[in-house]
């Protein structure tokens, strides 16, 4: 851990983001079990309005979101406010969470990204229609597990990247969003993830046609 590499451009970041804690930006964590637990917690928030599960998600994602926002150039106080807004949206929009198409981290990241983009735009960016929530739809455990497995593969692939490649990805996904060019680092398994997500969407559309032909 002590040998973790300081992020490229950290000199610039220190000027704009004084509140980031010293130390490695990326920390080794047991991601394996987190993915399944967080998704379970988010489903409990969705289905049972489980406040304890929400509290755990807040404790896990709140500080990470704050780090991401400060890294992107936000001041400590604003980042704190946006974390509140984003996590409140997580609570309110939980009915739209579909574990066949995203793990909890992906879904929460998407909400945070949209919030950040809208803060920088003159007019909010139009959003696609939320996919319908179908009470009748039984969860497909195999598909949910398979998506989580892909999320794990992605995390493992990320951990094998050269530090400058990982930093390029963080820059593209966390910093100055309108000006960054997202350049894909080759070899990351996004293609499989895309097909998994399509399966989830297919399933929803199929069910929707069955209910309302």
């Amino acid at each position: 851990m002590e040998t973790a590499i300081a992020p490229a451009g950290s000199v610039h970041k220190i000027e704009t983001a004084p509140a980031l804690p010293a130390g490695p930006e990326r920390v080794e964590q047991p991601v394996r079990d987190d993915i399944a637990e967080q998704t379970r917690d988010l489903i409990a928030v969705r289905d049972q309005r489980d406040r304890a599960a929400f509290g755990r998600l807040f404790d896990y994602f709140g500080p990470r979101l704050k780090y991401m926002l400060i890294r992107g150039g936000m001041r400590d106080g604003s980042a704190e406010d946006v974390v509140q807004e984003v996590m409140l949206s997580v609570w309110h929009k939980a009915a739209q969470f579909d574990p066949h198409r995203a793990d909890a981290a992906a879904w929460i990241y998407g909400i945070a990204r949209n919030r950040r983009i809208d803060m920088m735009r003159r007019r909010p960016l139009a959003q696609p229609e939320a996919m319908p929530e179908l009470d009748s739809l039984e969860p497909d455990a195999m598909q949910i597990l398979a998506l989580q497995e892909e999320a794990r593969h992605l995390s493992e692939a990320l951990s094998r990247l050269a530090p400058e490649q990982a930093e390029a990805l963080r820059a593209a996904y966390f910093d100055d969003i309108p000006h960054s060019r997202i350049s894909e680092v080759t070899g990351l398994p996004l293609g499989t993830i895309k097909s998994r997500i399509r399966l989830g969407l297919d399933r929803l559309r199929h069910e929707l046609r069955r209910i309302a032909p």
């Binding site: 509140q84 409140l88 992906a106 945070a112 963080r170 997500i197």
Partner: protein, 209 residues
């Protein structure tokens, strides 16, 4: 849903995901994503990457009381989820203010409603009766046209609900609506269209097309 064959170009999808697309194009992309599972899966796979990066990020300590603050806010009113209609997906419905289109006649049975127009570009709905042609036109820049009902074809092929035609500057094309339902499309441009026929050019300032 019929098979969507014409998608948003990758560079436009990238710009949408990065939040840098002007409003008019943003609405067309959001409407296409509402209908197209392939492009939506692309966008959601980007969030999987973002989520994986977020998970492994070090944290910045939240203020004392942050947890109590959010727990207190959770009982507030829940914002409504925007919904679309059978023809207009939610992002288009939002531009219409939830109302049916208020068409203006352009002649030849063709109708339009301007949804937005500013220095960055314009966004409008077009209604083309079956078999009718939109006057031949070129573009000063990029034009994205999404079919919402019916179909049209031109030299680039046939376009059905969910399909997007991407036209760059210097492409002249003359879309003709297919048989059956009137064709309704959503079109975004970053420059005024240049119609070649004499009359439409005179009308251009009048109708802001």
């Amino acid at each position: 849903m019929s098979q969507i064959r014409h998608h948003i170009p990758d560079d436009v999808l990238e710009a949408y995901h990065a939040g840098s697309l002007p409003h008019a194009f943003g609405v067309v992309v959001a409407a296409h994503l509402s209908l197209c599972d392939a492009c939506r899966a692309w966008a959601e796979s980007r969030d999987m990457m973002g989520g994986a990066l977020l998970r492994e990020l070090a944290g910045a300590a939240l203020h004392e009381g942050a947890r109590a603050r959010i727990l207190a806010a959770m009982d507030g009113p829940v914002p409504a989820v925007p919904r679309g209609s059978a023809v207009f997906p939610a992002p288009v419905m939002a531009c219409l203010g939830g109302q049916p289109p208020r068409w203006r006649m352009l002649g030849g049975g063709i109708r339009q409603q301007i949804l937005a127009a500013d220095a960055e570009g314009s966004l409008r709905l077009l209604y083309i009766p079956p078999g009718k042609a939109v006057p031949e036109h070129g573009h000063g820049g990029l034009e994205l046209t999404l079919v919402l009902q019916g179909s049209f074809s031109d030299n680039a092929g046939a376009f059905h609900r969910g399909d997007v035609e991407t036209a760059h500057d210097a492409i002249d094309h003359q879309p003709v609506a297919g048989p059956g339902m009137p064709c309704i499309c959503l079109a975004a441009t970053d420059a005024p269209l240049r119609f070649h026929a004499f009359l439409p050019r005179l009308l251009q300032p009048l109708f802001r097309i």
